[in-house]
């Protein structure tokens, strides 16, 4: 119960941000950070709990984004219905890629490679297919009504993405305590042993991948509504695949709050770099990459792990003083 209370507290505190500041810069920063937290939480389900490192989560993000956008622009479908279909489409893509690669027993580096390749195939297709607007991209018409999932100010967007993040936190918390979560961790720790004790490894991985893809696709749908523009490089580009894995790894892989913490840390670092150096292209990503290497080298359990070690250290010190 305590863990659910923590989630409620964190979400409630975050929900207060628009009351504290009306600054568009701050809200925009928070919206993007929460978006990355959501996408990262998707990656975390599969990579953090299931141990299957995907380098191609752009495939799900982009599918969610494009489906939402294309349904609205070309078929006049309501944006909220588009969101639901976008999430379903992302989950479907995840299930198909998962079924194909897990069926042929791809693990570790091979799995990372094949997910990367699928994302690239989708990117190339999206960059030439007429339905995505090819090189020109897809522009969602401005229609500032809540029914159209567009808002005058940033605060409603912020609360919506926060709600998405809250749902993903609850979902992952539930998984962590569930039988399915235990199976997933067993697969991560030792796939052969998991199979030996009777876990249907294929189904567990497939379920994790489908859920992971659905969460990430929800991020893609939100992106489309928030920025109202998509092209192949944005939707299916490698940047989102990298951010999706960066957030949980830096925050604390395979933990409920890891992606949220990591997204805030990463985005703050990015902004800090921009403050110091001005708007130089590439430099924020240099920092991300460097942080990724440093975290893997020195804090394999992420920022959350660092806090934990610091707390233990403090406690030990208190004990020796007492």
């Amino acid at each position: 119960m305590r863990s659910y209370a923590t989630i409620a507290l964190v979400v409630a505190l975050l929900a207060l941000v628009p009351f504290v500041t009306a600054s568009n810069v701050v809200l925009n920063f928070m919206v993007v950070a929460l978006l990355i937290a959501l996408v990262g939480q998707g990656w975390n389900v599969l990579g953090g709990y299931g141990g299957q490192y995907s380098f191609g989560h752009a495939a799900f993000f982009g599918t969610g984004a494009y489906v939402t956008a294309i349904l609205q622009v070309r078929y006049g479908v309501n944006a909220w219905i588009g969101l639901a279909i976008g999430v379903a489409a992302g989950a479907l893509v995840g299930a198909v890629i998962g079924a194909l690669s897990f069926r042929s027993g791809l693990r570790g580096s091979y799995f990372a490679l094949v997910t990367l390749a699928f994302a690239e195939v989708l990117r190339v297709i999206a960059s030439v297919a007429p339905i995505t607007g090819a090189g020109v991209g897809t522009l969602i018409k401005l229609d500032l009504r809540p029914e159209a999932f567009q808002f005058q100010s940033r605060a409603p967007f912020y609360w919506i993405i926060l709600a998405f993040v809250a749902i993903s936190l609850l979902l992952v918390q539930r998984i962590e305590k569930s039988r399915f979560g235990a199976y997933l961790v067993a697969v991560r720790e030792n796939e052969d042993a998991a199979r030996a004790v009777g876990i249907d490894v294929f189904r567990v991985k497939l379920a994790a991948m489908t859920l992971s893809a659905a969460i990430t696709a929800a991020g893609g749908c939100f992106y489309a509504q928030y920025f109202l523009f998509l092209d192949a490089g944005i939707a299916y580009g490698p940047w989102i695949s990298v951010e999706a894995l960066l957030a949980p790894i830096i925050g604390g892989i395979g933990t409920v709050f890891g992606p949220l913490l990591g997204a805030l840390v990463v985005k703050s670092l990015g902004e800090a770099t921009k403050l110091v150096t001005g708007d130089a292209p590439g430099l924020d990503l240099v920092i991300y990459g460097g942080v990724l290497v440093l975290v893997v080298a020195f804090a394999p359990r992420g920022t959350a792990g660092l806090f934990e070690s610091a707390r233990k250290l403090l406690r030990r010190r208190e004990r020796t003083h007492a």
């Binding site: 069926r103 580096s109 195939v121 240099v286 990724l292 080298a297 394999p300």
Partner: protein, 290 residues
């Protein structure tokens, strides 16, 4: 069906392109075969090498083929140092960590180059850049024919090193049985780094061969990465001969699918092949069944 007048040049050109792909893949497969890691920084390292060759030419008027003589040992040292002092220690011997560390490195390198040189695409104008030689019905670009010959020579040299030198023997020993090699007195960390260095040195040569006919920008190396992965998987992870043959096959496939499907969709041919091979024959055409 197209007439042989068009088909034969396309195939020959594909073979020439494929040779350079093969060289990039050779480095990758060597590293995979010994360290059992997929080096995601491979493309970024190729980009660095291309920039190095470019600046050798623009600053010192050094011909790319001459620059290769200096750059190859330099990149060997770079690769050695990267593995010995960055990737090895940072990864704590865990495969998943190595994936992330090399991915992180590639992000750092690529964007540092983007920051330093912007996204501009640069090319060099060499006097022989557009020379052609006639072979049957085909006109082949001279720099690419040279590239093809150099690649064959490098592959041969690599094979000789692996076969007949003590270092080569040690590399093969580590690849086969790491613990056993360590017990018989081989310094595994050193051999890992040497292998990584050799793989990186291949990139320096590839970059110098590419420069006369290709462009350089901070993302230039990426174009080769997935192709190189495809070749490595096709040829069997860790197989030198497989990489060579796989590279030539991919070059021809790319050239032909470009001919039939057009430039941008032609890329898909390679990715689709890659996915199919991964799904149905992950051990490759030459690799042993895992």
């Amino acid at each position: 069906m197209l007439s042989p007048i068009i088909l034969i040049p396309a195939i020959l050109n594909g073979l020439l392109t494929g040779a350079v792909y093969a060289l990039v893949a050779l480095g990758l497969t060597l590293i995979y075969g010994v360290l059992h890691i997929i080096n995601f920084a491979h493309g970024a390292l190729l980009t660095i090498a291309m920039f190095a060759a470019l600046f050798c030419y623009t600053l010192f008027k050094l011909d790319p083929y001459l620059a290769a003589i200096g750059l190859t040992p330099l990149f060997f040292c770079l690769g050695y140092a990267l593995q010995r002092f960055v990737i090895g220690p940072a990864a704590h011997g865990e495969d998943r960590n190595i994936l992330l560390v090399t991915l992180g490195l590639s992000v750092v390198i690529e964007n540092a180059l983007l920051y330093a040189f912007r996204a501009d695409t640069r090319t060099v104008n060499l006097p022989y850049g557009f020379d052609v030689v006639q072979v049957g019905p085909a006109f082949l670009s001279v720099p690419r024919v040279i590239g093809f010959c150099v690649v064959i020579a490098v592959a041969l040299a690599l094979w000789l090193i692996m076969r007949f030198t003590d270092t080569g023997k040690a590399i093969r020993a580590v690849a086969k049985e790491k613990l056993g090699a360590e017990l018989s007195g081989i310094n595994v960390a050193h051999i890992y780094a040497v292998t990584f260095g050799l793989g990186t040195a291949c990139l320096a040569i590839a970059a110098c061969l590419l420069l006369p006919t290709y462009y350089v920008n901070p993302h230039a190396g990426n174009a080769f990465v997935l192709i190189a992965f495809t070749i490595v998987v096709l040829g069997g992870m860790g197989s030198v001969a497989g990489a060579l043959v796989g590279g030539l096959i991919i070059g021809v496939i790319e050239s032909l699918s470009g001919l039939y499907l057009g430039e941008s969709l032609g890329q898909i041919g390679i990715f689709v092949l890659f996915i199919l091979v991964l799904l149905f024959r992950p051990s490759g055409l030459f690799g042993a069944r895992a």
